[in-house]
């Protein structure tokens, strides 16, 4: 058991190390997210009241697109240099290694988005009482975004030109997260109950964390064959 956890930890640490080697690339999603979200107020009239109504959707759509940025390349380097062959042949369950890699990606891509979200929310005039719900929703929803993006990346890793395909593949998996994540914030804005959407997001998160590493591992194995 320990050897399995050690192996998963090694995968996790390797991802972080690789991100540190290329800091510019690693911070791209965060920069993209901030720029995208802050473009909306620029496009609206100053102090437009509509901004506040759109804020939940803006934050969530920006997070979604940021999570998709570069997800296509997630497994490509490891497939091309033969690393994934070694993962497959190691005496450790392959889905666990894939899960560890995706978990590291969550920390690298999504965690900064959550940290930056309150600032973005303030810039979008979101009411303070809704910010907590926004963060909680992002906490539950971003693993869904990252893991389903990873699954789509695994599905297309053997296909040469899959860049345009990825949004279609992940849309069905990501749009429930968007609906309930933004829905919870909207409910909080007008004082409605936020429990339902948050519970649903949590359910989606648990389901994604459980099933998608298996599915992604299967898709990768298929692409390698």
């Amino acid at each position: 058991m320990n050897a399995m956890l050690d192996a998963a930890w090694a995968v996790f640490v390797r991802e972080l190390r690789l991100a540190l080697r290329r800091p510019a690339e690693a911070t791209q999603p965060l920069v993209f997210y901030c720029v995208l979200a802050l473009l909306f107020p620029l496009g609206l009239a100053a102090q437009d009241v509509g901004l506040r109504a759109f804020a939940p959707a803006i934050v969530w759509v920006s997070a979604l697109l940021a999570a998709l940025l570069g997800i296509e390349r997630l497994f490509r380097a490891d497939v091309d240099d033969g690393t994934l062959e070694q993962w497959l042949l190691a005496d450790v369950p392959f889905p666990m290694l894939v899960g560890a890699k995706l978990a590291a990606q969550w920390l690298l891509i999504a965690a900064p988005l959550i940290v930056a979200a309150p600032l973005i929310a303030l810039a979008l005039n979101l009411q303070p009482q809704a910010i907590g719900v926004l963060l909680l929703g992002l906490l539950f929803g971003t693993p869904v975004l990252v893991f389903s993006g990873g699954f789509a990346a695994a599905l297309t890793v053997g296909a040469p030109r899959a860049g345009l395909l990825i949004p279609i593949l992940v849309l069905p998996m990501m749009c429930p997260a968007l609906i309930f994540g933004a829905g919870a914030v909207r409910a909080a804005q007008v004082g409605l109950s936020v429990e339902g959407p948050l519970y649903f997001l949590a359910a989606m998160m648990v389901l994604s964390l459980t099933l998608l590493p298996w599915a992604a591992a299967g898709a990768l194995r298929n692409a390698l064959e």
Binding site: L155, T156, G158, L165, I179, L212, G218, E225
Partner: protein, 285 residues
Amino acid sequence: MWTWFHRLASPPSFYRFADRLAPWLLGLGLLLLAVGCYGGLFIAPADYQQGDAFRVIYVHVPAAALSLFVYVLMAVAGAIALVWRMKLAECAVVAAAPIGASFTALALVTGMLWGKPTWGAYWVWDARLTSELVLLFLYLGVIGLNQAYSDARTAARACAWLALVGVVNVPIVHYSVQWWNSLHQGSTILSLEAVRDPKISSSMLWPLLLTLSGSFAFFFAVWLRRLQNEVVARERGANWVRDCVLQAPLAAVSNEQSGMTGPELDPSMQSRQGRQRHGEPRGAD
């Protein structure tokens, strides 16, 4: 029984089986659809609430039922393909996707045409409509994924994974009208309660059952034909494809031109050459 299934799973016997079954299914399906549509449009009475607008039901309900059924079918075939590595099941997944997508699109379009006169809006973002739209995107994903790969087998198995993951959406579509307050109505015929206690007058029900069963027969006919094409494309190097599919045109061509592989050749030679000629060119390993 089991051996029968086993035999059927081999591409040549499946091909011959489908060849015999598909025309009958197609004829039956078209007949049922024609009678059902006539009954629905001309014989069934108008609804007490919706008047003639309710007649969309005779297209909308079969399309919606098939959109869910086909996806479940794809997921089951996908699971079989992944677990037992059965080529026919791989073909079944890819062959079903465009048909399922068509039915889903049909359900969405007829639903919109129905929604305007009854609800007062073409589209609302309620749970049923949204999840059905998601289903359409899942189908499009499978189709796109299948075309993204140059190798048919890898493509089909990737599609099988996507079908398996996406099947989570099917119960959400079906139960959305129960789980959430939605503008969409509840199930008229596809629920246990409705079987115990029919929610539709029998004079309106029988055409619906006819178009429903006709749509299923039509789907199976088209699916079998698509499966045949898929199987032949995948097996194009094999002997049986030469023998039972390509024989006539190929024999004609080869006799006219340069007299290549004719039927007069030694059978073992023929198989070897057939494979090399029709198989993909050997690439690098």
